[in-house]
């Protein structure tokens, strides 16, 4: 196996039992560090004692491999025995510590499905055509849990292999993208490992509220200009939000 050469232990020593990891590798058009800081603040507003690690470009042990392809390095950086990785452009809008007892029974859990801002599970497939065409599980890397384990090792090394050898892996897929998205790579890894090993039954685990148009009944790409929103507590069009809000519009500057 291509990943057999690698150590299955994370590179850094484990310093805490549980914590949140937020990758924040800035791009020319997006200040992910700022997004990650805002996400960390929102976690602390609900859980002041939470352990949070923001991963910036300087923290990458294997250097910046470009965009999403850095994702697998989280495995090597997380200082936690149990980690929940969160995408930077999200806000925590309610307590989420109940996730830990839900997830701790598994080695790896990738979240499945998404909700609109009314809290309803979306059936929009506009952004998921490649998933449907390839019969992939409907995974979202935005919330990913793992504990230090052999299963997690396999998962992360597979993620690394798919990113690193995308030109070969993509030949297995219908409608493969030129540059793989993290969600597609996770879905492919899930299929190779067996989805039941890295997901919970649909609807039973954490799920993001996804603010992309088409998932929500908005007309424009920028929902922040179209819908009324309030912070503290977070409401969109007067509807109270809960869980994790994937706000998608990275330039959004909520107070």
């Amino acid at each position: 196996m291509p990943w057999a050469r690698h150590s299955w232990r994370p590179s850094l020593p484990i310093t805490h039992e549980r914590g949140y990891v937020i990758p924040a590798i800035d791009r020319a058009d997006t200040n992910y560090v700022e997004c990650a800081g805002r996400l960390a603040d929102s976690i602390r507003s609900w859980h002041p004692d939470a352990n949070i690690t923001i991963i910036t470009r300087d923290d990458l042990p294997h250097g910046d491999q470009g965009g999403f392809a850095n994702d697998w390095q989280c495995w090597h950086i997380s200082p936690y025995r149990e980690t929940i990785k969160l995408e930077a452009d999200m806000l925590v809008t309610s307590a989420i510590d109940h996730w830990w007892p839900l997830l701790e029974h598994r080695d790896v859990v990738i979240s499945q499905g998404a909700r609109d801002f009314y809290g309803a599970r979306t059936h929009c497939r506009r952004y998921r055509r490649i998933f449907d065409a390839n019969h992939f599980p409907d995974v979202y890397n935005a919330i990913t849990y793992w504990r230090v384990s052999r299963t997690a090792q396999q998962f992360w090394q597979l993620v690394r292999a798919i990113f690193g050898h995308w030109d070969q892996y993509r030949t297995l897929l219908k409608f493969a993208e030129d540059q793989p998205s993290t969600d597609v790579v996770y879905a492919m890894a899930a299929v190779i490992m067996g989805p039941e090993r890295v997901t919970l039954p649909e609807g039973s685990g954490p799920m993001i509220t996804h603010m992309k148009p088409h998932i929500n009944p908005t007309h424009s790409d920028d929902w922040t200009q179209e819908l009324t929103w309030e912070t503290d507590p977070m409401r969109i069009n007067t509807v109270a939000q809960w869980g994790v809000l994937h706000y998608h519009v990275k330039q959004w500057q909520p107070s």
Binding site: Y118, N237, V239
Partner: protein, 251 residues
């Protein structure tokens, strides 16, 4: 605890809501065994015009529904639209429900011809709509707050129209109820609902009574084929003229 039904029936030039309510009061007593109070002599509080496909534009005296909590003489009230046809005892479980306030969350076309997705939501951003057609409320702080919030929405209708981007100018109790439930439940959308959906008959279908509490609905389906069904359950008759003809036949 006293229990009864309440129906608002303020006539306009097009529809005799009072006759409709009186007919329904008789049905309610037969099927549910409770009395009905009919509110008829309210002074219309402002004009509201609505377009009904079978009536055209009519003046619609629907602004007083928010007063139901104050006007009801009952401890537990079944508040019904005059055009909700009680043809069975299916509302009886609501009279035993341990809830302060219940309404329908969704309605559906009894013929299956129309998708009610649009009618079950309102405003440009598809806010989930609750239906004010059938409401059960218990005299309680919670129910009182919901009606007070409905009044607030009615009295500030233009503000809420702007907020939820509702294109129609007509005030609707369904919208006010939906907003009021949201406000009173901490802006969450998880209010307890009547555990079945509201059967609805739209005006383009032909409605006739075949026997007591049995109705025939003739319609043309999506493949342009003529079909008919027999209905012996409660339903919301959106076609006022057809219902009026049935009532005239019964009196």
């Amino acid at each position: 605890m006293t229990t009864g039904a309440l129906i608002f029936a303020v006539n306009n030039g097009a529809t005799d809501y009072a006759a409709m309510a009186a007919w329904n009061a008789n049905n309610i007593e037969r099927h549910l065994g409770i009395e009905t109070n009919i509110v008829t002599d309210l002074k219309p509080t402002g004009s509201n015009t609505r377009h009904f496909s079978d009536l055209g534009h009519v003046t619609w005296h629907n602004l007083s529904r928010v007063d139901a909590y104050d006007l009801s003489p009952w401890d537990r009230t079944l508040l019904l639209d005059a055009d909700y046809v009680v043809a069975s005892d299916q509302l009886l479980p609501l009279l035993d429900a341990d809830q302060d306030f219940l309404a329908h969350r969704e309605a559906y076309d009894i013929t299956g011809c129309n998708d009610f997705q649009g009618l079950n939501h309102f405003g440009e951003h598809a806010m989930p709509q609750w239906w004010a057609t059938v409401i059960m409320f218990r005299r309680s702080t919670h129910a009182g707050l919901i009606f007070a919030a409905m009044r607030m929405v009615r009295d500030n209708w233009n503000h809420y129209r702007d907020l939820y981007k509702i294109r129609q100018t007509t005030y609707r109790n369904d919208h006010a109820l939906s907003i009021a439930l949201l406000v009173c439940d901490g802006h969450a959308l998880d209010h307890a609902a009547i555990p079945w959906n509201l059967a609805t008959l739209t005006p383009e279908h032909a409605l006739a009574e075949t026997d007591q509490d049995r109705y025939r609905v003739d319609f043309v389906n999506g493949e342009n084929q003529r079909r008919w069904i027999t209905v012996s359950q409660d339903f919301h008759a959106m076609g006022k003229t057809q219902l009026e003809a049935i009532i005239a036949n019964n009196t």
